[in-house]
Amino acid sequence: MFVSALHASGFDFFCGVPCSLLKGVLGILEDHPAAGYVSAVREDAALGLAAGVALGGGAPVVFMQNSGLGVSVNALASLNRMYELPVLLVISWRGEGGRDAPEHIQTGAVMNDLLELIEIPFEVLDCDRIEEQVGELARTMRRTRLPVALVVRRGMLQ
């Protein structure tokens, strides 16, 4: 359902670095070579790939764990934003509410503030409104030509 919502909103290229919270959706993409999922080595390299796809006329989605958001800040600022190369980020929310492995706690606590600080419009995924949220983010992305993000809580896309 999530993958068909992405297709319905015109997204046609998928890449990223996995997270257990995104296991379900990444499994679907990897099992269908036609979906065109590329397993990137790092999150900023995934953003580079996505930028190239956008330069070639495509509409990319980058999947990552929120730990990868820190790795991605320079690419988001000096590539996607500076050149106006749109991308949808699907970011898992590890460390939400302080209940997770220790390496996720600080990033989980500041993630939404970080997205606001770097001016990335985002929605926290609501399973009853998937198509509406993806459609709305896609419209914002195309209007502003900037990166947008969908934040995914534990259990939603597993």
């Binding site: 290229f13 065109g36 590329v38 397993s39 990137a40 080595v41 790092r42 900023d44 390299a45 995934a46 953003l47 580079g48 790939l49 996505a50 930028a51 190239g52 796809v53 956008a54 330069l55 070639g56 006329g57 495509g58 990319p60 320079n74 690419a75 600022a77 000096s78 590539l79 500076m82 050149y83 106006e84 190369l85 030509r145």
Partner: protein, 190 residues
């Protein structure tokens, strides 16, 4: 061979339909000063990502030759992407790496490329062809045949450190660089 001689030679041999992704720093600036084309994407920030951007363009536009004009510092910063290129294996991707052994635009601090044979790493990563050239005649010979066989191909071009004086910055707004490149890549106005 000086870098400007290598960049000039590459510019002369680019296939007319090619899309070029040039890494940040002096490579972009010299390519821009040698001869601007709307099919050039000049990367200004995001060091390390020229190879990933080029791979994305190559996957999306398989009908066009895609040339990545890269540098040793850039490749070393994101070596893993050589693996992604080998694994995706786009036949239209040609990866040219100008290796001067230093970070030229930040004061000439050395990289580690003199000890790391990048062309061997590329070969191990699955590039179909990979070669090192160290003089202008060899570069010219390689470029005459490079595009005729399928890629991904890797060409390591050893040059002397040092900058030519008077090379300006890329004088274009970044969104404009992206817009005209996309129009050339897709054949549509946006």
């Amino acid at each position: 061979m000086k870098r400007i001689e290598a960049v000039t030679c590459i510019h002369q041999h680019l296939p007319g339909s090619s899309l070029v992704v040039a890494c940040n720093g002096m490579n972009s600036r010299e390519l821009y000063s040698v001869g601007d084309r709307p099919e050039h994407f000049y990367m200004i920030g995001s060091m390390g990502l020229a190879s990933s951007i080029g791979l994305g363009v190559a996957l999306r536009r398989p009908e066009r030759p895609v040339v990545i004009l890269d540098g040793d510092g850039n490749v070393l910063m994101n070596l893993g992407t050589l693996g992604n290129i080998g694994e995706s294996a786009p036949a239209n991707l040609f990866h040219l790496v100008i290796d001067n052994g230093v970070h030229a635009s930040t004061g000439g601090q050395r990289t580690i490329s003199r000890e790391i044979p990048l062309e061997e790493i590329a070969r191990s990563c699955g590039y179909l062809r990979s070669e090192r050239v160290g003089d202008l005649a060899s570069l010219e010979r390689s470029l005459r045949s490079l595009w005729r066989e399928p890629g991904p191909a890797f060409l390591l071009i050893e040059v002397e450190p040092g900058n030519v004086s008077g090379i300006g910055r890329v004088e274009m707004d970044p969104p404009e660089i992206a817009r005209r490149f996309r129009e050339c890549a897709t054949g549509t106005k946006s």
